[in-house]
Amino acid sequence: MAYKFDFGAIVPHWELLVDGMILTTELTVIGAVVGVGLGIMGAWARASRAPVISQIVGVYVELIRNTPFLVQLFFIFFGLPALGVKLSEFQAAVLAMIVNLGAYSTEIIRAGILAIPQGQIEAAQSLAMNRVQIFRYVVLLPALKKIWPALSSQIVIVMLGSSVCSQIAAEELTFGANYIQAINFRAFEVYFVVTGLYLAMSILLRMGLKVLGNFLFERRRHV
């Protein structure tokens, strides 16, 4: 007997999906803002002349980039309590996303910093600016501008990656989907709809990041 599709079976559970999307969005926004902030500091440390700090950050970056996100998440949620750090599902999920994006964006932003012509940095030095001032006023914005497309993609990847947070019962979108199909046995319909929802969220996120980029890097007169 052929399978009879019944998308209507999802309707009674729509609130779960909406709640899931809200949580996914929250995870992504916090993870992206703090993660990119961490990436900016990491990239600065990598590019600075302080070798010890630069190496510590280098180890962090390689550690995160060469291990699965799911394991990082489990480590934070199930492993850290052994050290007395007990986090809620949401806290663990958001921390894992921050740590993960922090590492990837460190490398991406560092590439942007390295692409700034040395002459501009020397010009700033000759104007008696100190390191912090040079980074803040001369390096950061043009560096971010250069790598904004790559950084945007990484943020989308992290948003999609948040689906594995369902594994620690963080009640994001995938968690909602798993839950619904477990009670109505409509796996195809549920995951079909959820795929569409993720796709829509990705597209919206990309568009949002593009608008943000235009706002940040648009030629605005500051005076």
């Binding site: 012509p117 002459g119 501009q120 020397e122 010009a123 700033a124 030095q125 000759s126 104007l127 008696a128 600016m129 100190n130 390191r131 001032q133 006023y137 001369v138 914005l141 043009p142 501008k145 890097f217 030629r219 007169r221 500051h222 005076v223």
Partner: protein, 242 residues
Amino acid sequence: MSLVELHAIHKSFGALEVLKGIDLSIDEGQVIALIGKSGSGKSTLLRTINGLEAIDDGVIMVGGKKISERDTDLLALRLQVGMVFQQFNLFPHYTALENVMLSPQVVKKQSKPEAREIAEEMLTKVGLADKMMHYPDQLSGGQQQRVAIARALAMKPKVLLCDEVTSALDPELVNEVLAVVRQLAEEGMTLVMVTHEMRFAREVCDKLVFMHQGRIHETGDPEEVFANPKTPELSSFVGGLA
């Protein structure tokens, strides 16, 4: 007392010794032309004066005070000694006005109106009153270089170092930049300029320094030195240009 004094400056890049004991004093109001063959160490010397290259040995004194390699000393040095580069090096995300205002605001903590007033004054001085709101990529090379000069001047340095400021320019844009430098010299600005513009050096500068293989090989009044080079290296250098 000289504004800047260099004593026995040595500088190597790896095994290559580029500066082999340079002594030079820069007096207030003096306009010094630094000439010499490619690779003789002219840029390196200018960069050491501004602390962009650390020296291996020797002493740099600014206003009678010895400069160490500490960051605070370097910043104090750079407040006195400005620099203009061959490649302009404007900040691409700022307008001409913002380029000039930036350092007075963030380094000297001037208020925006104060910084703006000085920036407008400097941009007007270099003939760019009508280009203040342009971004660097909307300006010609000569205009960009003049913004770079205005940007350095806005910090009110005591000495301005110019490293081949017209070498990256199309020939028809050279004069507008040289005119600005000439005006600065006439106003009494202390200048050290690496240049290949011999006629300009002769007309505007009051001391000529010829570098050869990492040493100051010959120095003197431009007119005399050009008319009467004492060393064969300088006469061949001068002859080679003519």
